[in-house]
């Protein structure tokens, strides 16, 4: 057996993944174990956990692949310091202190912390790792691959081709031209920071018109060959791309919105909504230009779309509508979050030449069943289905925690919240009970794939991405009456397709709900509180239950139900 460990560190989504004979045996983000959302530290806990799950010691590792080329990245950082001189004085000492003191010696650190020989340590470019993860976990044997991120070493955008177990870079766009940074800067300008910022902008865009489009367009030159160039001050881009772009936007379009300040989405002044809509239109133009060129170059009908920009889940639909590609796959762990898996798979297939196997969903199993007598024991899966459906029909918000932690920032089905989508107030109820998100943000809709056509309009090519909750689809006529809580203002829904194979138990719950109500769909969200990572262990899940107003929580086969206080 060949064991390859992939490691990502020093960015949001730091973590580790272990591949055994080319198949992902375990994959965990460091934030899941430390409890600190966005934990960027060297993922020692994740590494130990991966080894424990695979039941091997560090000696048994054949290779460790780090998902970055540190010297290449350092080259870019140094050059940026030079280009932005003397404005880079504050960054210079901080960056060099970190790099000279720690990052440049990562090989030694990996050898020391994990306990492997230095000859077993390999490095892969971050963009290649992300693309490898996305392609090798997709259902495609061959595909065009579009990777768009902030920046890894130098690459911000990669146009690639995947075939079998290999990915090949065709063309790239390099720093400081970065759609990822532009996207993040727009999110920051609109007062949405952190990982969910781009999603918030995409959701907000549905409320506005594109009155700023022409003005925004002047900041990016989209070329016929798909390449693009940002027209912001180069020095500022090199000094701090996100902050520099945000500052220029503030000068051109007015003061940035403070996080937490009211969002203007109704009435005559819908400034934030209009800005978001303008940006969404511009971003879509850029993505479509890249996709067109990629389709022409590869001639492939499949597209794998990855990188942080792929988190903007309306883009996939736009690409499919243009019909350059017939099928699209977007991995659930976008951006650097997928790099550890990519590094492990890259090592397995490209260094150790293991043939590609069928894609498997990575994840780590951490649910520690305690002997707590508090939860009511449910005797079997059939009973779980009955109880869940009953509670959902009663209008309760139910949490589920079972099996492996889903890989990525969002949960698919193993750590989720379910509610009745027929109640138009249910979105507000879920917000009040635990999520406390901005009111305009929609929730996802878990739907039986075989009956999805009753509620949603979609191209069959969207199915792979919809199974990963990475596709926003148009609602079918009549869906507004059936699932009002799951629809966004523009009659779209973020869909999560469920089949008997993808999740047998949730499939049964959806079938039970459909039998009782005629609606084969449920409102769906991740089991986590704002600012926290996804609940990993039973203790995390119970903590969420205690700190929120969730009506019920089912942890494996134990039910925790909130009882109204007696007067």
């Amino acid at each position: 057996m060949i064991h390859v460990l992939g490691v990502t560190a020093f960015c949001e989504g730091a973590g580790a993944a272990l591949a055994r004979d080319g198949e992902v045996a375990a994959a965990i983000h460091e934030e899941t174990l430390s409890g600190r959302r966005g934990d960027a530290n060297f993922p020692k806990r994740s590494i130990e956990a991966c080894l424990r799950i695979a039941n091997i010691s560090a000696d048994a590792l054949d290779g460790v692949v780090f998902s970055e080329k540190p010297f290449l990245k350092f080259e870019r950082i140094l050059q940026s310091q030079l280009y932005s001189f003397p404005r880079s004085r504050r960054n210079f000492s901080r960056e060099l202190f970190v790099w000279l003191g720690d990052r440049l010696w990562i090989k030694g650190r990996i050898a020391h912390e994990i306990g492997v020989a230095p000859e077993k340590i390999f490095f892969v470019r971050r963009g290649v790792a992300e693309a490898t993860a996305a392609f090798l976990t997709s259902p495609f044997d061959s595909a065009a691959i579009l990777m768009i991120d902030k920046v890894a070493e130098w690459d911000t955008t990669l146009l690639m081709r995947g075939q079998g177990s290999a990915v090949e870079t065709l063309r790239s766009v390099t720093f400081p031209n970065s759609l990822g940074f532009f996207s993040a800067a727009v999110a920051k300008y609109l007062g949405f920071e952190g990982e969910g910022g781009e999603e918030a902008v995409a959701a907000l865009a549905a409320y506005g018109g594109s009155r700023y489009y022409e003005q925004l367009k002047s900041y990016i030159d989209i070329r016929a060959d798909g390449g693009f160039e940002l027209k912001f001050t180069k020095r500022e881009l090199h000094r701090d791309a996100e902050e520099g772009i945000c500052k220029e936007l503030s000068i051109a379009f007015g003061e940035a919105r403070r996080p937490g300040a009211p969002v203007r989405i109704v009435g005559n002044d819908r400034r934030e909504a209009d800005f978001a809509a303008s940006w969404q239109r511009l971003l879509t133009d850029a993505i479509l230009s890249l996709a067109r060129n990629l389709a022409r170059e590869t001639g492939d009908e499949n597209l794998v779309f990855c990188g942080t920009v792929a988190n903007n889940r309306t883009l996939g639909s736009a690409v499919l509508k243009e019909e350059n590609f017939r099928n699209i796959y977007i991995p659930p762990a976008a951006g650097a979050r997928s790099a550890a898996v990519g590094a492990a798979l890259f090592g397995s297939h490209r260094i150790f030449h293991i043939p590609r196997v069928a894609p498997s969903a990575p994840g780590g199993s951490f649910l520690e069943l305690s002997e707590s007598p508090d939860g009511k024991l449910i005797k079997d899966d059939g009973e779980i289905v009955k109880i869940t459906v009953r509670m959902l029909i009663q209008g309760k918000v139910v949490g589920w925690a079972r099996g492996r932690v889903d890989w990525g920032a969002r949960s698919l089905t193993n750590r989720c919240i379910l509610a009745d989508p027929r109640d138009c107030n249910m979105k507000d109820k879920v917000n009040q009970k635990l999520k406390r998100r901005e009111a305009f943000l929609p929730y996802a809709c878990a739907v039986l794939e075989e009956r999805a056509g009753e509620l949603l309009q979609f191209n069959p090519g969207a199915v792979p991405a919809a199974r990963e909750k990475m596709m926003v689809l148009d609602a079918a006529p009549g869906a507004k009456v059936q699932i009002p809580a799951a629809l966004h203002i523009n009659n779209t829904a973020l869909a999560l397709f469920i089949t008997k194979n993808s999740d047998p138990l949730l499939n049964k719950v959806l079938e039970g709900f459909a039998d009782a109500t005629g609606v084969p769909a449920l409102l769906h969200a991740s089991l986590r509180l704002r600012g926290d990572p996804i609940a990993a262990t039973q203790a995390d899940a119970l903590s969420i239950f205690e700190r929120s107003a969730l009506d019920a929580l089912i942890i494996e086969n134990r039910l925790y139900e909130r009882v109204a206080a007696e007067n």
């Binding site: 960015c11 310091q81 000492s93 901080r94």
Partner: protein, 253 residues
Amino acid sequence: MLLLRRRARAVWSDPTRSLRTLESFEATEADGARDIANAAKQTFDPQLATLLTHHAADERRHAQLFRRRANELRSAAGNINYIDRQGDLSRARAQTVHFHNTDSSRKFNTDLEISYLAKLHVAEERAAKIFEVHRDLTKNDDATSAIFEEILRDEQFHVSYTRAALERYKKIGRGSDVHKALRRARGSRLIVAWKSLGARSGAGLSKIILNVLYFTIIPVFVLFAKIAPARKRSAARYFINITDRNAARSQYL
């Protein structure tokens, strides 16, 4: 203590440092919980084992309280700059600060137990003093102050039960061993403080040197960068035969 107050005051006036401090406390409490839970398995005394288990549970709870508060502050403040954390250069400091009971495989004999209890007692005394200072300085932040208040109550219990355990050893004629162990524990903290000071001073000096370099050496390279023609970076440059293991070992190509 005066120095601690000054530093703590500086911490709570800076959102990034406040967040890092809470995270550092969380890590310390979580590490302490593991350590104490291990010690509970090593003692032959069932009463002490129960107390240590209870102590470990307290430490875990403290870690959770700090984590939650840190997450709340992070959500409220937006993107805290992670550059310093990513360097993790306080590793050296962290490793020297804790007295980890590293060999948890063997049971305690009397000497080991006295030594461990003395270290634990001194650590809890110190923690109580530190948390008291932080509680006093966060009086205008109810949520944070309440956490320190709650933890202080537990720390006071931890100090008193470890003291009582050491008193029991004094009563059975091991008084001089207890005194020696306490002296050693207090002395080792001075060494730790010295190492910590060394790490911080090194960091400070490095920053000064780097700043000097920035304004003396870097301008020369800036000139070269401005007059050199821009190189076009193409994807082909980076497409090395990636089945070659040596290429994959490279941190550059």
